[in-house]
């Protein structure tokens, strides 16, 4: 007798648990307001990333096309996997002194692991992360970027 | 429509598949890559023979199923005439089901309803 009671108890409990699950899914079916997906390429315009989002490393330039990179190479040393390569050149300044300035700051996006060590260790805060996240290109060569813009100068007052 | 029309539905189904497959055979690309013809096994070549004697584990269920399937032959006609025949039919089916149920209970108690 006990086993029969147990048998029916199992059935009612089982069916009850199934109904509880269906209650949840059914509720979501009838509440379209809870949809969480975004229509991604359509909402590009008003898609805001977090300000600290590590998209890619950039070198901010001001409106006079000046950057802060002195070409010291600390970022290159700190990068764990050789993403950054700083190529510097020597020029003679107006007052006749020799000075090493940056020629090319090469950044290989394809190798970058976004560990932020270059940005953190830069003594003159020349590097930053941008919020750009659409990195896809058809040619790997396009992932090797030169961060300083052509003709850019070292910002005044940065040593 | 009379029952002979069933052949029409058989033909429609067969034609539907046949025509579409033939059409797809014309338009679909054909590859020469032999790797594609390998049966799927998560990217690893198959080991051994596929068609082996296979322990399906529901042999007893199949035998029980056979008994119960034959039982349906009786129950379906009975169900149609149940209303008209009345009490006799009811008593008959009670006896029939009790015998069936006892058989099922026997199999249950003998642990035949456990997947081996």
């Amino acid at each position: 007798m006990n086993s029969i009671i147990q048998y029916f108890k199992e059935i009612t409990q089982g069916v009850g648990s199934l109904l509880r699950g269906m209650q949840v899914t059914n509720r979501y079916f009838f509440s379209p307001g809870k949809i969480v997906t975004q229509k991604y390429p359509d909402n590009r315009k008003d898609l805001v990333m977090f300000e600290r989002f590590k998209g890619e490393v950039v070198m901010p330039h001001n409106e006079k096309n000046e950057h802060k990179c002195t070409g010291c190479g600390i970022c290159e040393i700190n990068c764990p996997n050789g993403t950054i390569e700083v190529i510097s050149k020597t020029i003679i300044t107006e007052d006749g002194k020799k000075k090493r300035i940056i020629d090319k700051h090469i950044y290989r996006l394809g190798m970058c692991t976004f560990c932020a060590l270059c940005v953190k260790t830069c003594p003159s805060n020349a590097l930053a992360f941008s919020q750009e996240f659409e990195h896809a290109v058809f040619n790997r060569a396009l992932l090797i970027k030169t961060l300083n813009k052509p003709g850019s100068q070292l910002m005044k007052g940065v040593e | 429509m009379s029952n002979e029309w069933l052949i029409l539905f058989f033909l429609v189904g067969a034609l539907f598949v046949g025509v579409v497959v033939v059409f797809a055979g014309f338009v679909a690309p054909k590859s020469t890559n032999l790797q594609k013809f390998e049966p799927y096994e998560c990217g690893i070549p198959t080991e051994g023979v596929t068609w082996l004697q296979f322990n399906v584990g529901y042999y007893l269920f199949a035998i029980l199923f056979l008994i119960f399937a034959i039982e349906t032959v009786l129950v379906f006609p009975w169900a149609v005439v149940m209303k008209e025949v009345g009490l006799t039919a009811f008593i008959e089916i009670v006896i029939f089901f009790v015998i069936l149920g006892l058989g099922l209970l026997y199999a249950w108690k003998k642990h035949a309803l456990v997947w081996e």
Binding site: S17, V36, R52 | G43, Q53, L60
Partner: protein, 374 residues
């Protein structure tokens, strides 16, 4: 009669060898299991790993301690915070640096958040392994909220690189407290759905109770840690036994069960989410002001010696063993990754269960393949 039937049913036959993985929906990555079957019954499981072996231990030997952080992120990417923390703690212990409370508390909150998101993903993928696809989306929906918190503060979602030797990479975002509280409130509100859809479901219970039972002796002998070990009654929570960061100042229960089956491995994780939330509750209002890092030398050199640090990640005990010869690069770094050790028990506990159970058991051990391969 019975004997005859038995003879018919069980005939001798060859082994039926089938590959599960590396491209299989429920091996959660590139794990390959060579399964020997007899009908539907699993007779032997042989894991083949190494498809994404990157030699992290070897790579560590040629980079500095600060740079190791970005590699540990990529081991168990669901416990990135805890992996980072393990290396940082080992280095700080070696240098005997005193870490301020602020850093300790933030690290603890971050660790617990990442434990929650890891268990959420476990819930999601475990449900999917058992055929309940909706679980996957509910789990990911809730996990997204934790990842948003991470992204706001650290700039990364999974690969956070947040801890560094001596502190943290960034200070917490001004919204951090508010968002964490919002999340805890939200998640307490939806946790009952998890129970309604999976925990209480009769099909789920039938599929998981009594499946893949691991005894306490075997759990210890195989070294199964984390929720999987605690489901077998193995009290192995490092947070309790060797408290690090701020775990010595919070109250929480070590979730322990004695059954050790798939269902209790699952239940242990669900309960751990609740415990994690209570830990966060205790700490979130008590973050003291102060600096978020301790000034360290630009190049960290560990004194010669051996340093061992145990940390409880979402999947079990992660040990970092650093042998230093006094240089800026470690001489040898060993990561005792929980998944690698847990994988060793798979064959033992899946024997004589069915294919569907194999999936359930493997799912309940909650493998992260990059952590196995390292």
């Amino acid at each position: 009669m019975e004997e005859i039937i038995k003879e018919v049913v069980i005939g001798e036959q060859e082994e039926y060898v089938i590959n599960m993985g590396p491209q299989h929906p429920s091996t959660h990555g590139v794990l390959r299991l060579v399964v020997s079957l007899k009908g539907e019954i699993v007779k032997n499981v042989e894991p083949h790993i190494g498809y994404i072996h990157r030699g992290i231990e070897k790579m560590c030997e040629s980079i500095t301690y600060t740079q190791i952080i970005h590699l540990t992120d990529r081991m168990d990417y669901l416990s990135a915070m805890m992996n980072n923390e393990a290396v940082c703690l080992a280095v700080e212990k070696a240098l005997e640096v005193e870490i301020p409370d602020r850093i300790k508390i933030i690290r603890t909150i971050m660790s617990e958040l990442s434990r929650i998101q890891s268990h959420q993903l476990f819930w999601a993928s475990f449900g999917m392994d058992l055929g309940g696809q909706t679980c996957f989306f509910y789990g990911l929906r809730d996990r997204e909220k934790v990842l948003d918190i991470f992204e706001e503060t650290t700039g990364g979602r999974m690969i956070v690189s947040y801890n560094c030797p001596g502190g943290l990479m960034y200070d917490i975002h001004p919204n951090f407290r508010k968002r964490v509280k919002e999340f805890i409130k939200y998640f307490r509100g939806v946790l009952w759905e998890y129970d309604a859809i999976l925990t209480g479901n009769v099909i789920f219970r039938e599929r998981s109770i009594g499946i893949g039972t691991l005894s306490l002796e075997d759990a210890i002998s195989y070294g199964i840690t984390g929720p999987s070990g605690r489901a077998s009654g193995f009290s192995c929570d490092i947070r309790k036994h060797e408290p690090y960061s701020a775990y010595d100042r919070v109250q929480f229960n070590e979730v322990l069960y004695n059954e050790g089956d798939t269902y209790h491995r699952y239940l242990a994780r669900i309960e751990e989410m609740r415990e994690s939330m209570s830990i966060i509750d205790q700490l979130i209002d008590n973050i003291p002001e102060g600096p978020y890092f301790v000034k360290m030398k630009p190049v960290i050199k560990l004194p010669e010696g051996e340093y061992f640090q145990r940390v409880e990640t979402a999947r079990g005990e992660l040990d970092v063993f650093i042998i230093s010869d006094g240089n800026k690069n470690p001489y040898r770094v060993k990561f005792r990754s929980p998944n690698f050790v847990n994988l060793g028990v798979l064959n033992h506990i899946t024997k004589d269960f069915k294919i569907a159970d194999l999936i359930a058991i493997a799912g309940s051990l909650d493998f992260v393949i990059p952590d196995i391969d390292r």
